[in-house]
C-alpha cells in the first residue's frame, strides 16, 4: 500500500496478557517511530529505529515494552504483562530520513 499500515486496528487484552502490535512502514522508509496516544492527549514518543537499529528507546515506559525491527522494514511493538494503564492508541510513523513523519491509523489497545 501507499501508506503506513498497522495491525490489528483494535486489540482487547486481559490484564497480564502479552500483546504484539505490528507496523508496516512506507516502502523504502529508513526511519520508523512508535508513539503512544492516551485519550484526549497528543502522541508521546516511545522509540525510534533507523533501519534495523534501535537508536532511541528513551520513551518506553517500562521494561515490559519491547520493540524490534529485525530486517529494517516491518516493526513489532510488544507489551508484556499488560496493565490497565497501557490502554491507549499506539501509532507508528515512518520517514525516509527527511523530517516529515507519516503516520499509520494506529492500534487501539484496551486492557481489561
Amino acid at each position: 500500500g501507499a501508506g503506513v499500515s498497522q495491525s490489528p486496528r483494535y486489540k482487547v487484552a486481559k490484564r497480564g496478557q502479552d500483546v504484539a502490535l505490528r507496523c508496516d512502514p512506507i516502502s523504502g522508509h529508513v526511519s520508523l517511530f512508535w508513539y503512544q496516544q492516551a485519550l484526549g492527549q497528543g502522541p508521546e514518543f516511545l522509540t525510534y529505529f533507523q533501519n534495523e537499529a534501535q537508536l532511541d528507546k528513551s520513551g518506553l515506559p517500562s521494561d515490559r515494552f519491547f520493540a524490534e525491527r529485525p530486517e529494517g522494514s516491518v516493526s513489532t511493538l510488544k507489551i508484556q504483562r499488560t496493565q490497565q494503564e497501557d490502554s491507549a492508541v499506539y501509532l507508528c510513523a515512518s520517514n525516509s530520513g527527511a523530517d516529515t513523519q507519516y503516520f499509520g491509523p494506529g492500534t487501539r489497545l484496551t486492557v481489561l
Binding site: 503506513v4 526511519s31 517511530f33 508513539y35 484526549g40 492527549q41 497528543g42 502522541p43 508521546e44 514518543f45 525510534y48 537508536l55 532511541d56 520513551g59 501509532l91 510513523a93 523530517d99 516529515t100 513523519q101 507519516y102 503516520f103 499509520g104 491509523p105 494506529g106
Partner: protein
C-alpha cells in the same frame, strides 16, 4: 521539561470564516515545527511544516506563522470547511533528539454549518 502546548482546547468557527489555532513551545533549540490534523479513529495527518529559519509558510488554504522571539506558532485556515473539523496538533523537533516529535495536547476545531 520541554513541552509544546496549546492555548485553546476547543475552537468553534462558522463555515467560511478563517480559523486560527495557536501553540506555544518552550524549547528554543527546536528547529522544525509541524502541524498535524487528526480525525477520529485515524492517525495524525501532515498539514504543513516550517523550519526555524523561516517565519511564515503558506500552503493550500493554510498558513503557518512562527515567532521565535516569543516561541509561538500558529496555524491559519482560510475559508474553514466542515471537513476541517478535527483535532489539530503542533509538534516540534530538535535535531539532537533523534528526530522524535514532541506534541502538544491538541485543539479541537468545530466548524458550524
Amino acid at each position: 521539561g520541554e513541552s509544546v502546548g496549546l492555548h485553546l482546547p476547543t475552537l468553534s468557527v462558522q463555515e467560511g470564516d478563517n480559523s486560527i489555532i495557536n501553540c506555544a513551545y518552550s524549547n528554543s533549540a527546536s528547529d522544525y515545527f509541524i502541524w498535524y490534523k487528526q480525525e477520529s479513529g485515524k492517525g495524525p495527518q501532515f498539514i504543513i511544516d516550517i523550519r526555524s529559519n523561516m517565519d511564515k509558510r503558506q500552503g493550500q488554504r493554510v498558513t503557518v506563522l512562527l515567532n521565535k522571539t516569543v516561541k509561538h506558532l500558529s496555524l491559519q485556515i482560510a475559508a474553514t470547511q466542515p471537513g476541517d473539523s478535527a483535532v489539530y496538533f503542533c509538534a516540534e523537533i530538535y535535531s539532537d533528539s533523534s528526530y522524535k516529535l514532541i506534541f502538544g495536547s491538541g485543539t479541537r476545531l468545530l466548524v458550524r454549518p
